[in-house]
Symmetry: C2
Subunit: 386 residues, 2 copies
């Protein structure tokens, strides 16, 4: 292997995702002032684009923060200490809702399921009936740690009929998979920049329904940097309350342009196809899909003999391909290959070809070429559908 | 004027500041994963560089946030509700300490001075004696809104002799003006990326003394995203607790390289020179300096007839030059021309030449060319000093 030098790098991780070159170059343009007329125009354009991507008529606010900052925002603005909430978690990021809420003295009623399983909307319905004081239901759209997509539409249907609000972490799923804030009656949605949005990490987003704004009015948890009333006030002026991360927002303007040009529905279709291809390819290698209801942006597969981390190491060091492993108790047991953001079928072809070699190297008995044959088959089917 | 088209843009605002081209291009490089070995290497390099810039042997933590996020971090990690603090404010950003502290139920004893004046270290000394229960003193190094630099060294001397800790907002001053965290005995220092660091907004920094860490241990204000214990834990692993803003950190690595190559002391000398030149040029135009003790990164001058905002509009719209005006009750009354970040004498030459034209247009009686003559004179003196 010493003779071979791989100098290219591929990011097939569930965030950050690759950035399209026409978006990336914008990050290097000379800085402009965040209180200038040019920036106001860009900001207006970007916030309108965000409303489209969130599929909402409401305002979407931009925070300078990681996604977790937006999660915290959705806790400290809506609740008061001692409030009761339901958290429906099915993995690491769902569990983060519990951790944040507990820090702020919130009582958490858990309707969580085992990692790899999907949230049962009916569990939420039952829990809401049993616990009439519950203020809000917090859950996750795509649970990145397990590759599961939850039925947010069904959960929205249930929660919207009550006085409770529904808060959804859509960080990993937004842009990559059908998601309709208004139509699905979701009160609060959060997201961040480094996944489907195809830009670098550093921005987080949040949108709230009128019903949720009433909760903001009565919330008693102190906040300053994440105080949504400030963001709403400055939104009206097409500004941000604190210095905006100008360069990231300028790249966001460009990526929104790409998303609009392509159309969300078409993008959803494409990721759905990539997800199907990935699952077929995993199965062709004898690896079973970990997720009860697989999402369309990352494919999580069980690997034998806890070799997950070894696979990741080989792919990265020998072929420059980054994929993700299992987190916490899933460490070594699963691999996660993402197809979110700026990813297409060519990435999957090279990813799976190298995955085959890595598996063979690690002593897993597979039939060579099977994952590629499976992908080619899916491609042929797709061509015949035209 | 219709025949003239100015297509170049100049940022002479006190943040964001221009970005050196060799730093800016790094923002467009393909994204790398925040949990990869490459990033760990970059992160280690960057955090070591930050310690040099802060002039401290301690760890400096990187937050994904605006500077205000770091201010909030310095409140919620060090204090508990009902705690007493002294805030020594001399402007808008000093006042922000008061606003944040009050949100969290902290009792604020103000030793603030009128905007434009400098904090009197002796006032802090007296107040500490009068209020033995005070936990911490919060103040500002360079008050951007008034162009004043406070004597942090003297304040450090006073506070370090007590059980109280000193927290300094060094957002605008760091890199631009002599600042020595350890030598000046400052417990907590915060800063952000879009000023002296010469990169885009989006990152904030914080460093704490051992004395301050003891306050963290007893703090009872809830926090999650800004919980410094998390940042300390991940620092040891050369990682960040949440997805790091990879592209901003990569530009920071490059700007730190430039700062180290040049040397902090040399940079301080250069900004000191630019500040002296700016003050001379303002005075040559008949404008008096607003700041009792002017800082070295921005020059604030009083303008007649409240034409401050008109000056700014003309400079921006006709010549593409951004400078700042007065904030709140100073609106219209002052102009602020910054020389922080990637700025040199050529920027001042074009800035003042256009400022002269704008003043004449607005009916201010000045003698043409005087600010440029003043700058040239200072340049000659400097040349003779070689």
């Amino acid at each position: 292997m010493d003779k071979i030098e791989n100098s290219k790098n591929y990011i097939l991780t569930p965030g950050p995702t690759p950035i399209p070159p026409e978006v990336a170059v914008k990050a290097s343009l000379p800085i402009i002032h965040h209180r200038s007329r040019e920036f106001v125009t860009i900001y207006k354009d970007v916030t309108e684009g965000l409303s489209y991507i969130f599929q909402t008529k409401r305002e979407v606010y931009i925070l300078t923060a990681s996604g977790t900052g937006a999660m915290e925002t959705a806790v400290v603005n809506l609740l008061s200490p001692e409030d009761e909430i339901i958290v429906a978690s099915c993995g690491k990021f769902g569990d983060r809702w519990i951790k944040i809420a507990k820090k702020y003295g919130i009582k958490v009623i858990s309707v969580s399921v085992e990692w790899g399983k999907v949230i049962k909307p009916d569990d939420i319905k039952k829990s809401l009936k049993l616990n009439p004081n519950v203020k809000a239901v917090y859950t996750t759209f795509v649970e990145t740690s397990t590759g599961v997509a939850n039925d947010i539409k069904a959960i929205g249907e249930i929660v919207s009929k009550t006085d409770t609000i529904l808060v959804v972490d859509a960080i990993s799923g937004l842009v990559g998979q059908e998601f309709r804030t208004d139509e699905w009656k979701i009160d609060v949605v959060i997201a961040s920049s480094q996944k489907g949005f195809m830009i670098a990490p550093g921005l987080a987003f949040i949108t709230l329904s009128d019903k949720a704004w009433k909760f903001v009015e009565t919330s008693k948890i102190p906040k300053f940097y994440f105080d949504l009333k400030k963001y709403r006030k400055f939104y009206m002026m097409k500004e941000t309350p604190f210095t905006a991360p100008v360069s990231l927002i300028i790249t966001l303007q460009e990526s929104i342009k790409l998303i609009k040009k392509r159309g969300l529905e078409k993008m959803w279709d494409n990721y759905k196809f990539l997800a199907r291809v990935s699952r077929c390819a995993m199965k062709a290698l004898g690896l079973s899909i970990f997720s009860e209801v697989p999402c369309e942006v990352v494919t999580a597969a069980l690997v034998p003999l806890k070799i997950g981390d070894k696979i990741i190491k080989i792919l990265k060091e020998r072929y420059g391909i980054s994929i993700a492993g299992g987190q916490e108790h899933l460490k070594g047991k699963i691999i996660r290959l993402a197809h979110m953001g700026y990813i297409d079928i060519t990435d999957l072809l090279l990813g799976f070809a190298c995955l085959e070699v890595a598996l063979i190297e690690l002593g897993v008995r597979i039939e060579k070429g099977q994952s590629i044959i499976a992908i080619e088959k899916e491609l042929m089917t797709e061509c015949n559908n035209y």
